[in-house]
Structure formats: C-alpha cells, structure tokens
C-alpha cells in the first residue's frame, strides 16, 4: 500500500478503531437476545428491569418443567427429528444424483433440466402453499403424517446446486481414468465420485438441517394432532393459545425457545468452519 505514510497511518488507525467498535457493537446486539433468552428461561419471576438481565439469585429449572407439562417436549423433539431426518435423507440422496448427472454426464435434456433448476429457485413458496395444501392434505390425505410434512422439502434445489458446483470443480482426469479402466457410469459414481464428495456432503447436511428444524408454516398447516407436531409448531401454539393464562408465561416460552434453538445453534457452533461463504454463494448463485 503506497501513499503519504503519516497521513495514512492516522487515518488507518481511526478507521480500524471505528471498524472494531462497529463490529463488536453489532455482535453484542446480535448475541444479546440469545443471552437474554437463556437468562429469562431460568428466572422464577420475570424481571424486566435492566438489573434483571444480570440476575444473581432465584435461578431455577421450573420453567423447563412447566413447558414440559404443557407441551410434550420429548415427543415434539422426536417429531422434529423425524421431519428433519427425512428431509435431509431425501435432499442428500436425490440432490447428489441430480448434481452429479448435471455436472458430469451428457444426456438429452440436461440443458432443459438445468434451466428448470434455475427457475425453481425463483418460484416463491407462497404461491405453492394453497395448491400444495389442497393436494397433500385434502387430495392425498397426508394430514398429520410425516410423509405429508417431508414431501414438499424432500428435494432441495440449493443442494443440487452445491453438489453440481462441487462435481464441476473435480478434475476430469479422475473420471476419465476410471472410464478408460472400463468402469460403467454407475460404478464411476459409486467408486470415484462418492468417496470424494464428503466435504460437500457435510455442507449440504448442515445447510439442510436448519430448514426443516426451524420450519413453521408448512408443518403448522399439515399437523393438527398435537402428538404429530414438531417442536416449532407446538411451541408456537403454546405462545398463541396458552401463554396468556400461565403463571410465568415468558419463562415457559423462553425455556421452550432454548430447547428449540439449542440443537441448531449447537450444530452450527460445532461445524461453523464448514459454513463457508463460497459454498453458500455458489448455492444461491449457481
């Protein structure tokens, strides 16, 4: 970096300080609600004064017991898990096959299919909401079933993109060598492509996980029976129906919120280095 040394140094220092203040101030604003969620979930009496944000005593697990008595936490978590697991399985298996085919194989209609993939990205879900509800709930009778919940999310275009980008980056020689050795296309997929795909696999699993785990609207429409509802739906129903009558409604809501947030946040923290910006970018841009 060239320039007048003295002037640049002071200007640089000032911007660095400003930048650091802005970044850490922003981080505080972003993290405080999570801290407050956790603290609030442990307070027997909701204390909304500024001092209440830093309690020194009166912490209890009663709110967790309370929300568990009103919402079947374990059952809802199992439903969330089955819903999320089903979506991830479908996304990975079908996304991998389609991504590999689009990146590495020449077949009739490939261009058309890729154009379709691009188009699907821009169709907003809200236009499909009513017809999908009519078809899946009314037409196929899949209300209150895991299949009904999973179906609209079972294949994810972002995953197809991520896999396609990944396979495009691999050198052609890897595949050519296997073909020269006489391997069929399925064999190439199984023995060459699959073992190499692990990094992309993790990205797709992590990107896919947060979708169904946090999804509210669709399972809310599909499930009316309490014992089929994922935790996001049970908790939302608690917030909108029951909360007004409970003794410490916020405490119980925040306890439920912590249980709902913990798996996604935990997974993200454990694997955050895999949330690479370029993967997300390629997933969106194609």
């Amino acid at each position: 970096m060239a320039g007048t040394p003295g002037k640049r140094a002071t200007g640089g220092r000032l911007t660095t300080v400003l930048r650091t203040v802005a970044l850490f101030g922003g981080a505080l604003v972003f993290l405080f609600p999570f801290y407050y969620m956790f603290v609030g979930s442990l307070q027997a009496e909701p204390d909304t004064s500024p001092a209440g944000a830093f309690p020194t005593s009166g912490l209890t697990l009663d709110n967790y017991r309370d929300i568990n008595s009103r919402v079947d936490l374990l059952g809802s978590l199992v439903n969330s898990g089955i819903f999320t697991g089903g979506v991830i399985l479908g996304t990975v298996v079908f996304g991998l096959l389609a991504g590999y085919a689009l990146a590495r194989l020449r077949f009739r209609g490939r261009g058309t299919l890729f154009a379709l993939v691009l188009l699907v990205q821009v169709i907003p879900f809200q236009l499909l909401l009513i017809p999908l509800y009519v078809l899946i709930v009314r037409g196929y009778g899949l209300a209150d079933s895991y299949l009904g919940m999973i179906l609209p999310f079972a294949i994810n275009t972002t995953a197809v993109f991520v896999f396609r980008q990944f396979f495009l980056q691999l050198p052609d020689e890897l595949f050519a060598a296997a073909r020269i050795d006489g391997a069929g296309e399925l064999r190439v997929l199984w023995s060459v492509a699959l073992p190499l795909v692990r990094p992309a696999l993790l990205t797709v699993v992590l990107l896919t996980f947060i979708g169904p785990w946090n999804e509210f609207l669709w399972p809310f429409l599909v499930t009316k029976q309490a014992d089929m509802q994922p935790l996001a739906v049970s908790l939302a129903n608690y917030i909108s129906n029951v909360a007004a009558r409970a003794a410490n409604p916020y405490g119980a809501v925040l306890a439920g919120a912590c249980v709902l947030a913990a798996p996604a946040v935990g997974l993200f923290l454990a694997f955050q280095k895999y949330f690479v910006s370029t993967d997300i970018g390629s997933g969106v841009k194609g």
Binding site: A2, G3, G11, R19, T20, A22, L23, F24, G26, G40, T48, S49, G52, A53, L97, A98, A101, L105, R106, F107, R108, G109, R110, G111, T112, L113, I123, P124, Q126, L127, L128, L129, I130, P131, V134, L135, L151, A154, E185, L186, N214, F216, A232, L235, A236, I239, S240, V253, L254, A257, L260, A261, V265, F268, Q272, F275, S277, T278, G281, V284
Partner: protein
C-alpha cells in the same frame, strides 16, 4: 438444451457417415436420442419428477384455481367447479383487508430491504478487513439466521412488550401504545426483526462477493489518494453490484413470504390488521375460511408483485 443437442450431434457422426461397426451403431443411435450418458437421465429423473410434482403442477393448479370457483368438498365427491374468469381477482382487489396487507408489506419492504442491504454490506466490508476475532464475529452475526423464528420470536415478545426491557430502558420515551400493539409501529418492528434475523446470511453473500474484487483496483485508488470512504464508494460498491441485486431480490422474496412473525409477534396481524401480511391473509382466507380460490388469486398477485420488483431492481442495478 443447446449443449445436449451438440453432444448428440457429435456422437451421431460416425453412424451418419456409414463407417460405424456393428457394435458401435446401436450405441450411436442411443446416444443420438438420449445423449452420450443415458444413465444421467436415470440419475436426474427423481429430481425432474419432484420439480414436476411439487413445483410445476401446483403452480399450474394455483393459476387454474384462481380462475375457477374452487371450494373444499368431501373426499371423492364429484362437484362442479365452474370457470369464473376474473371474479376471484375482483374479490381480492376490493377486499380492504387484502389491500391493507399489500400496503403493510410495502411498509415492510421499504424499511427492511435498504436496512438489510446497507448493514450487510458495511458489516461484510468491516469483517473482511478485521484481523482479530474474525471467527467469533462471523458466528455472532450468523447465529440468528440458524435459529428458528419461533424461538427468537419468544425473546422478542419478552423484550418488546409494554413492561419489557426495551421500554424499561427507554423510560418516558417508550411508545404508547407499546411497540407490538401500536398500529404505526408493529410493522416497522417486524421489518427490523426480520433484518436482524436474516442479516448473517446476506453478510455471507457479500463476503463471497468481496473475495472477487480485484486488489489492484484498491491499490490504484490508494495511489490516486482516494480516502477510505471514496474507495468504498467508487470501488467496493460498484464491484459488488451483482451481489447487491441478489440481496435485494432475496430480501424481497423473504419479505413477501412473511407469515410467522405477524402470526406470532402481533397475535395474527394486529392491531387492526396493521401487521397482517399477504401470506397471513392467504392462510386466513384459503384455509381457515375455506376459500382456496381467493387465496390462490392473492398468491398470484403477490408473485406478480415480486417479479415486478425484481425486474425494476435488475434494471436499476445492472445498468452501468
């Protein structure tokens, strides 16, 4: 399509020339019809079927429904669903609640989209240059994005209710009626909430875009004596313009999909419908009140709106 044709044409070459051996000729014929790797069709088939069943067919069904008198009937019952032309659209356009919902989403977008784009770009630029605690900062900005709306709505209700921490801190400055029950403030609070929740994702998009800005541009600007602000304005902002177009479109789509926040934060779109979103009204009309045809018409109008905004946005951001 062009690529597939080209590949098929090349493969068909030897057969057309008449020089193919007996073993190669059928293969060539298959290739001419299906391409060099027909197995690709098999591998891509589930995705293609899915796109047809879960996107293309419902999309057509939604449009069909919006032009017919469609109502829920007992399973298996054969009922007449007459074509009604634009009746559903007429019903939607004169409905004050629908109009209000579209107006509300306008308020939402005017606040949310610029806030999202500006904050995401500034934070991404700062993060890109930050040396210390970079990973911690990234994680901090991304955590709201990975958390369920339902969970963070819980804590926002706690923060923004009339006795909540925000009003306690504001003291006499606290709005009356309070944030979420105030007709003028409910939608702006939702717009800020969604900006906060989604910002991490848009920061990542900008970070990816910043990787591709050529370093030489900054160096030559620095040689010319441009200040940090001038470099930001004349190098960074134009260089990330495609990303900005994407951020604006995605933020608009996110806003048009708004449902959970008005449903839970403001108790179903209150007060007096001032925070109702079009998707919330679609849910009420289509599923609660059994008028899926009217709801489908709202959906079509909403999507047309999104497409128009995207087209304008492209025009504005992609010209030089």
């Amino acid at each position: 399509m062009a690529t597939a044709h080209a590949a098929a044409a090349t493969d068909a070459g030897p057969k057309a020339g008449g020089g193919g051996t007996g073993r190669r000729a059928p293969r060539g014929r298959v290739a001419a019809v299906l391409g060099r790797h027909p197995v690709g069709l098999l591998l891509a088939a589930p995705y293609a079927v899915f796109v047809a069943a879960v996107f293309a067919y419902p999309l057509g069904f939604a449009i069909w429904m919006s032009f017919h008198d469609y109502f829920f009937a007992a399973p298996g019952a054969v009922v007449d669903r007459p074509f009604v032309g634009l009746d559903n659209y007429r019903a939607v356009l004169v409905d004050p609640q629908v109009r209000q919902a579209f107006g509300n989403i306008g308020v939402f977008l005017v606040i949310n989209v610029p806030l999202t784009a500006v904050l995401a770009l500034l934070l991404a630029v700062a993060l890109n240059k930050a040396v210390r605690a970079r990973m911690f900062l990234r994680v901090a900005f991304y955590v709201p994005y990975v958390t369920a709306s339902v969970a963070v709505v819980g804590v926002w209700l706690f923060l923004f209710n009339s006795e909540g921490l925000v009003n306690q801190l504001l003291g006499p400055l606290a709005p009356d009626p309070s944030w979420l029950v105030n007709e003028g403030l409910a939608m702006p609070v939702i717009a800020v909430f969604v900006a906060w929740k989604q910002l991490g994702f848009f920061i990542l998009l900008y970070l990816a875009a910043l990787q591709n800005v050529p370093k030489e541009l900054y160096e030559s600007a620095a040689v010319d004596g441009a200040s940090a602000w001038a470099r930001f304005r004349s190098v960074t902002v134009p260089a990330v313009r495609p990303a900005t177009a994407l951020v604006v479109i995605l933020a608009t789509i996110t806003g048009a999909n708004l449902f959970t926040e008005p449903y839970l934060l403001t108790g179903g779109g209150g007060p007096s419908g001032s925070s109702a979103s079009p998707v919330l009204v679609m849910y009420q009309r289509g599923i609660q009140q059994g008028q899926p045809d009217v709801a489908a018409a709202i959906g079509v109008l909403l999507v047309i709106g999104v497409l128009v905004i995207s087209a304008i946005n492209r025009r504005l951001l992609e010209r030089d």
